[in-house]
């Protein structure tokens, strides 16, 4: 392929016809005349890696990472805390100081309040930061307006790991034996496709061990289990028969906080002692403020080769907020997208040709304390359709529940969090 493309370019560059068509010089990236300042918003799976790889690939680029908190807690593996496999979330918590020191990244703990794409500036609670390129990796925000009466302090989402996760676990611990947990799953796409089903497994495991006679009712807005269906059903039957009551096509539209009940399309009512509502989602708040969200009003369209916004020049959107074609909204995807984005910002700033993307996703889900399953994929851009697609054959799930995959999953989380924090 390389040779053929080279010939193609020769052909474009060679003829006088090409010059008259204005093609001369198109064989390489346009000469870059801008500065070398990159601001990265978000210190999670995407932002940390974008900042780190920018500096690893070109130490002449000045990188500022802006994160609202002084730490970041991983969503992946936080279900294991709900299940009781993890006693706390300390092993899922990273700081940014070592990353900053090792790679010469300026880390600023501040709230981003605005982005001025024309002026190339970011306004924060700690002043204004100018950029030449901006990477936005803000995760998700909830479409709470689609659930009437929703109050996360009463019915936690626990879909951003942290105090919400602790609240949900406390509610589970306080529940009487024989109680009912209700879990509401939003319509896809949402962050972490297999996550709600892993959570179902982990809560069922907790109930089986600590709250005899209890059960979990799963109200799924989707017509069926979104990810790893066969494996989850197998695991549920093997370990949690009679504990999990899975109900597809049940969209929660309203809650009754006083009576601890949820309403489905305003008709059915389901009561619970503990109610975990994962609301429908959209791109992180700042993406909406900055005008990066597409016509659907939810997610940010990007150039699949670079992750540059198709709406605002020099702003790149990675992770859950972006529309990354076939790549799922996962931590691993955000990590992989960050590297693709960093590679091509470096290329742009050095007037080099862009590099076609190659991305990976691997998501592990725990079914029990000792068994996990995975879904994998290798991704590339289909240039005709200009969209990210899986490389045929690379996407697939585990053949069965696996103790070995649980062991590998533990090393995955260790590696990816180490990569983000050092």
């Amino acid at each position: 392929m390389t040779m053929e493309r080279r010939n193609f370019l020769k052909l474009l560059g060679a003829g006088a016809g090409a010059a008259t068509l204005g093609l001369a010089g198109c064989a390489s990236q346009p000469k870059y005349a801008g500065g070398r300042k990159v601001v990265v918003i978000g210190g999670g799976y995407g932002g940390t890696i974008a900042a780190k790889y920018l500096r690893m690939m070109d130490a002449t680029i000045e990188v500022t990472l802006i994160e609202r908190n002084d730490h970041y807690i991983s969503g992946p593996f936080s279900n294991l805390y709900l299940g009781g496999i993890l006693a706390d979330m300390s092993s899922l918590t990273i700081k940014h100081d070592k990353l900053a020191a090792n790679h010469g990244i300026k880390v600023v703990q501040a709230e981003v309040t605005g982005i001025d794409a024309a002026a190339h500036s970011v306004t924060t609670s700690k002043g204004v930061f100018n950029y030449d390129s901006l990477v936005v990796s803000p995760g998700i925000e909830f479409r709470t307006d689609e659930i009437k009466g929703y109050d996360p302090e009463i019915m936690p989402h626990a879909w951003k790991a942290g105090p919400q996760t602790v609240l949900l676990r406390k509610q589970l611990e306080a529940m009487k034996p024989g109680g009912t947990v209700v879990l509401s799953i939003p319509l896809a796409p949402y962050r972490c496709p297999p996550g709600p089903y892993e959570r179902t497994s982990m809560i069922a495991m907790y109930l089986k061990e600590h709250k005899p006679g209890s059960r979990i009712i799963v109200l799924d807005a989707n017509p069926d289990i979104v990810s790893k269906k066969g494996l989850f059903l197998k695991g549920w039957k093997k370990h949690y028969d009679g504990i999990i009551d899975y109900r597809p096509a049940k969209k929660v539209t309203e809650v009754d906080n006083k009576n601890m009940a949820v309403l489905i399309e305003g008709i059915d009512e389901v009561k619970g002692d503990v109610i975990n509502i994962i609301p429908p989602q959209k791109a992180g708040h700042i993406a909406h403020v900055a005008g990066l969200v597409g016509a659907d009003g939810k997610w940010c369209p990007v150039n699949p080769m670079t992750f540059e916004s198709t709406l605002k020049k020099d702003i790149y959107v990675i992770g859950d907020s972006s529309v990354a074609g076939a790549m799922p909204k996962s931590g691993y995807s955000a990590n992989s997208e960050a590297k693709v984005c960093a590679t091509n910002i470096v290329a742009k700033m050095n007037s080099r040709p862009l590099t076609e993307m190659s991305g990976v996703n691997t998501c592990y889900s725990f079914l029990s304390a000792k068994e996990a399953v995975s879904v994998t994929g290798v991704y590339q851009v289909n240039k005709e359709k200009n969209v990210i697609e899986p490389v045929p054959g690379s996407v697939g799930v585990s053949p069965d529940l696996s103790e070995l995959e649980a062991v590998y999953a533990q090393s995955w989380i260790k590696n990816i969090l180490t990569e983000m924090s050092s």
């Binding site: 392929m1 193609f8 474009l12 691993y332 590679t343 590099t355 054959g393 995955w412």
Partner: protein, 192 residues
Amino acid sequence: MRRKWSEMALALGALVVSAAAYAVPPSAEMLSNACAGCHGTSGASAGPSMPSLAGQSKAFFVDAMKKFRSGEREATVMGRLAKGYSDEQINMMADYFAKQKPQGQGTAVDPALVAKGKTVYNEACKRCHLENGKEFEEDTPIVAGQWLKYLQIQMGEFQSGKRKMSEKKAEKVKSLTSADWEAVAHFYASQK
């Protein structure tokens, strides 16, 4: 193919170029960076069951990936992921990781087992796993300094028959007890 590209150029003209800036195919770094989510930055693993790829033998890497891809070597996720790459891309990644600096993980090991493992190594392993496992021969991997847990999993799979051995290896290790294998794992893990 050459003809097809020239036809495209004539037919689409400026449109082709203006629609998408020219990009080169995925580089070795682009391909290899995506592995780091599991195998660590530059292939230096921080997870005890995940092998480090930094400094690994190119021939071994290529052989392992192709065996994963064909299903000849049993795997969890690697059998699926390896299907995402061409021979050329596997070679590029092998080159990339071979050039990275190996990082000993400093796993806690049992000194008594390390001593015993050294004896077993000298008797059964050193002809192919050269220099205490730091060097390689043909398609053998560099095993020195790998995580203990990773070595234990792989050695367990050799013993159970889940991971196939070459005839040469099978002959060499046929008299080893499981205690011998365990000792060699500690010995390799102890190497810096």
